[in-house]
Assembly symmetry: C2
């Protein structure tokens, strides 16, 4: 039997896609990456995946795991031409295997979407905190492969910190069962953490045991205006010290960025006073509380007001808007969440997903802007992101008299400038999007040589035939 | 120059210990493990460690890293006779390299004691949450090598979750610098997490960047009496849902265990009413809050009282004692913390450091007790531990008419019975103490075969000459 026929005998011919039907899987959602594959295979069971992996091993065909295909670095699109590959799409492997309310844990299969997981948790009166723009489409497997972050990391951590255990199919086609839903388990090397963030290059994550949390009964969104980025850092420190775990988000927005969003939304319900807008920086923070709503509402609303007044007196912030009901809460968040779409409307830019120690962000921003303006006169800089955990989206757009093509042709020069400065300031060139195929060379440049050596050894020992997502993360 | 002379030229002859001076390092603090080593070497710099590792590689001599030597599984005592070894003691490599308050992070060297780190954090108005009985002696390097847990895991996680970055000297004698103090960094495999918990078998952790937290202004200790273990689980779920991150500890104590502690302390200030003591189970929980003391005190004290009254009405708990001042807080905690010493006073027992999904703990305890009584009639069972994260200390003591030697001779049979049941219930045979040399065979029995295979491959790829702590964790 041929390779394709055997694949069909494993998953059914309806789930081996070639030709036209394969196209949507062969490029990413933004159309930035295109690849080739013998077929797209859509298994719905772990046993099928085992059989597929063994078959691929026999035929020396590589496997590119793909979840919701919402990645930003081309991690789930084939790019290696030294070997034929298939795309293994996880979207049919999407069952909730178990919910254990007393243990506050849930076991889900890799192809389950983040939204489905969030919804089922809520139905059971629990909260799964990972929250991303792509949550309707992205899968838990993809979230794990890239160690997804998002807006709630400040309080709940990345998905790594939300994960108790995982199940993996190895490149040899056997199951590595690490699914025990335990909060403490020191039995040998933490393979769970090795696979999380390995972007499908060491094996295929097929399921995960995840933590569930109590639902917060009440949330406040607060938009504050600030005179400087230094003040934003002081304000963050103060807020953390006063609200601790009740501080669930702390998002920075530059003035240029806020205006982009306001213009994009173009609706009077989002209107802000001119005096308020006339500031270089804004922070959207979220405070959450649990408990009897009226009791907590009175107590926390009062604490929030007193705290913000103190921060105005101390000069950390200039003004603050506190959400007064659920609709207002949603509209303040909508201002922040619309930034990526507003940016897209504004044009194509060169985007950086960076993180820095929070303390150096003011110096970095000032140095970086000077340096960019020196080398690329007139470019427009859009800064926003998760200041609470040091993660900035630092995006560069064309100058007014420049063409978009001309800016985009400078992509690698601008990357060079930004990433080398991030590196010098002790930061990371990939905070939450991963390496994929986009940043393989960048990683070689900036990652510690000792660490790269160990990474290569690990890859070779676990996947000696380079079967798993070749050409991603490492240049092998 | 001979091996020992070269060692002396690296660290100074005062810091190469042999003969009498070496003895304290060659056995653990409880005297359960004894080993041999050519010398104890005490470097005070990373460069010295690099030189030592290169020298050992040249002479094919193994390295056993040792911190405070407070481990419970013999992980830092040499046990491999196939190769000569040195003990590399980290206690002189103990500097605080950097405190970054705005980033809420601190960089410390591996030999720094946990107590020193806690104290320095407090001086800077920050909190480092790891808390262990051995904190005055144990080192951060040892804590990281074993992924230490303790009483605050429920809220803050194990030391893995408290770590931003680490620095490691590889078995080849180069530095793997992963010290960036970032909360989001997805640049390749998480080597940090591979080294954390690897018990010195993959390299020597020399420093770590750790998270700091705000200090809680007010804490309440609450001792409650319960009629059943099922009630304790219901009570835990209810408490988590109502207090979320303010619940900072949830410790289970059996009646036998509480009596041991009360008898050991033997002081009227610890006296409890007979009615209160007349229960099979007790929980000591801790609620913490941040904010203006008086304001928070009133609000939370009131919430706690209302909550406990509700739990009494619901039948989850029978009675509760809330700490009314700092002294009372300390004395309630002292009841819990004295258990290990009270146990020691009681005699030698067979101890298990296990974890389970919280939901199965009632069935496990009931099955386990039946099974133990069936096979080892009359043994006394002492149960306590961190119920909030499923981690129990499950200890078996001799029956009244049995000799201690007779019980201890049954150690492996009792291990077998307990560990196999833990395994069947989806638990872990080592929750927070690690594998060391004690549980190498147990790990072979219970760890998933696929996981063991990957672990062996990793060890061989990173440390092909088996230089680093041979015979620990894995049987190589």
């Amino acid at each position: 039997m041929s390779f394709l026929n055997t694949l069909s005998s494993i998953v059914g011919s309806d789930h081996v896609l070639t030709g036209e039907k394969a196209l949507p899987f062969l490029s990413d959602w933004r159309g930035r990456y295109k690849g080739n594959a013998i077929a797209i295979v859509r298994p719905s069971s772990v046993q099928s995946i085992i059989n597929i992996v063994r078959l691929c091993k026999q035929y020396n065909i590589a496997i590119v795991p793909q979840g919701g295909n919402t990645g930003l670095c081309g991690g789930s699109i084939p790019n290696n031409n030294s070997k034929d590959s298939i795309i293994l799409s996880s979207t049919r492997l999407n069952q909730i295997r178990e919910i254990d309310l007393s243990n506050n844990s849930i076991v889900v299969e890799a192809g389950c979407t983040l939204q489905k997981l969030q919804d089922i948790s809520l139905e059971k009166n629990r909260y799964f905190p990972l929250s991303l723009a792509s949550e309707g489409t992205c899968t838990i497997g993809g979230n794990l492969a890239t160690n997804a972050g998002g807006t709630q990391v400040l309080r709940y951590g990345n998905i790594r910190e939300l994960t108790l255990g995982i199940e993996v199919v190895s490149p040899d086609g056997y199951v590595i069962d690490l699914l025990r839903a335990l909060r403490k388990d020191n039995t040998g090397y933490s393979l769970r953490d090795l696979y999380i963030g390995s972007e499908g290059t060491l094996g295929i994550i097929t399921a995960a045991a995840l933590k569930l949390f109590p639902i917060c009964d009440k949330k406040w969104a607060i938009l504050v205006s600030l005179s400087s980025i230094e003040n934003a850092i002081e304000f963050l420190m103060e807020t953390r010290c006063v609200f601790d775990a009740s501080l669930t988000a702390f998002e920075l927005i530059s003035q240029f960025c806020l205006n982009l969003s306001l213009n994009f939304l173009n609706d009077k319900k989002y209107r802000l006073d001119t005096d308020f807008i006339d500031h270089p920086w804004f922070v959207l923070l979220e405070i959450s509380a649990i408990g009897d709503i009226r009791e907590v509402d009175d107590f926390m609303s009062n604490r929030i007001k007193i705290f913000l007044e103190k921060c105005i007196v101390l000069g950390y912030i200039d003004d603050a808007i506190i959400s007064f009901d659920n609709l207002h809460f949603a509209s303040l968040w909508h201002l922040r969440e619309s930034i990526p779409l507003a940016e897209k409307d504004f044009g194509k830019g060169i985007k950086h997903d960076i993180s820095l120690p929070v303390s150096v962000i003011p110096s970095f921003l000032s140095d970086m802007e000077k340096s960019l303006r020196l080398h690329f006169n007139g470019v427009q800089i859009v800064v926003f992101g998760h200041l609470g955990d040091g993660n900035l989206h630092y995006n560069v757009f064309k100058s007014i008299d420049q063409s978009e093509e001309s800016l985009l042709s400078l992509q690698w020069q601008i990357y060079d400038l930004v990433h080398s400065k991030v590196h010098d300031f002790g930061g990371s060139i990939s905070a939450e999007h991963g390496i994929g195929q986009l940043k393989v060379n960048e990683l070689q440049k900036y990652k510690n040589a000792g660490a790269l050596d160990i990474m290569r050894r690990l890859k070779k020992s676990v996947d000696p035939d380079n079967m798993m997502n070749p050409g991603k993360v490492l240049d092998i």
